[in-house]
Subunit: 302 residues, 2 copies
Amino acid sequence: MWPKKVFIREVGPRDGLQNEGTFVETDDKVEWINLLSTSGITAIEVSSFVHPKWIPALRDAADVFRRIRRVPGVTYSALVPNVRGLERGLEAGIDEAVLFVSASESHNLNNVNKSIRESLMEAEQVVNRCAAAGISVRAYVSTVFGCPFEGSVSVSQTMYIVQRFVDMGIQDISLADTIGVANPGQVEHVLEEVEKITAIDRIALHFHDTRGLGLANVAVSLKAGVTRFESSLGGLGGCPYAPGALGNICTEDLLYMLHGIGINTGVDMDVMIRAARMIQDKLGKSLPSCTLQVLSNLQRIS
Amino acid sequence: MWPKKVFIREVGPRDGLQNEGTFVETDDKVEWINLLSTSGITAIEVSSFVHPKWIPALRDAADVFRRIRRVPGVTYSALVPNVRGLERGLEAGIDEAVLFVSASESHNLNNVNKSIRESLMEAEQVVNRCAAAGISVRAYVSTVFGCPFEGSVSVSQTMYIVQRFVDMGIQDISLADTIGVANPGQVEHVLEEVEKITAIDRIALHFHDTRGLGLANVAVSLKAGVTRFESSLGGLGGCPYAPGALGNICTEDLLYMLHGIGINTGVDMDVMIRAARMIQDKLGKSLPSCTLQVLSNLQRIS
């Protein structure tokens, strides 16, 4: 059984662009986000309120939030590493805060210079502040399927963090394959464990296509009842060291699969293709989107 | 439930190379096939005995067969379009003949200038000649999931051809997504229909990764009990009009997925990576293999 309806969260402006070597001008980001706001998508991860020193590509987060045209029904969220980042986000008018804790101790330390325990305490403060500010909050568990430092990550460590997020009342928890090593067997296993502690409709999945298994992992997740996924237009987010290397799963390829299966997403493929081409042009390089490649081949042949 | 054991048929030397603009020298083909013969793989589609005018890249089929080192336990097969091709193949010492009929009338006409009816009669002759020669035969149904001329292809048309192949006594029937448009929902549906007329262990699947769904389609096929797949080292077989466009599903990426799930293939990943690099070097261009890209990124970073 396939789900009837799936929700896609476009994370290209945040997760996609943060790894790009090229700085996309604020005007261009705003134009791009405005276009994809008209696609029918209901959630866009717009930027990140981390210190600009760490992610210079997203140093204009506040400007972007102030200048985008908000479409009713679309949630515009931003990543916040801590309460200080959240305050900057609130000032800029974010609809939703996104926090993150890694399932791997060494990745968490390396990423935010805190232990998992400290990050969970910070997360609690973010949740409380969001409640006071009246905005929603969601949370990533990073490196669920593998860590660049430790290699394999125990499922129980992920479950511990999911349980803590559940206890904090976070309704929307995303399990992220930060380095793109997950396989469908592992995904199934993790989802079986997650279902023991929370309802599957509270869970989103966030895959990277580093090993070409992103959509295979989505397929088994759909079968397990997951209906929320994060993806990037064009498959943005490849490693800056490798031209052509794959980043997030590609939104338009994901749409091709979901619509092909007969699953409703509410998203207009044509608008998304225009938006994917727009960011490809702005970056001035070929993105790893099969859909864009197929369309460009068809143009050459005809 | 995942299957415990999966059989991979390496089709790079045939389906991969036939679309390459560059002619790979016979010596190089032989060296490459000899290397991949040592990987533990049990089936290699070595070449094609079609008229050299149609596929110049494989014009050395007979030479390749005569010069490769045969490893016991490996089946060395070749595509044959008709009895004349089969005779050339038998002379060159093929272990197995591979015939093909398209599920789409216009694709069949365009491909071999015959109606499906005529192709099925030819297939019967090939089957009889193989029986007389004492070699095995297998069969592709092409364009099962879509046709470049007709668009969608009816499942009943595929089932008709599968039934005819079953009636001819062909034990090994491969359903091919010739143009790479299949999605997991469609694959499931076709497999449900196939199971009504024959055992699933008689069926192999042959996906192209044009839309990035190749491994997603494999994942749902595994769940449906399919244990035989065709793939190409490096993801060879992209459209000559599009550098970087994707061809067959990539053997080493498929192995990464299967081994990650815990499925036994009997194939040594390290040997396959060496073989993928070898053909990449001989072609002198980057192949769409995620595994090769990841390895080359790791080298750059370290």
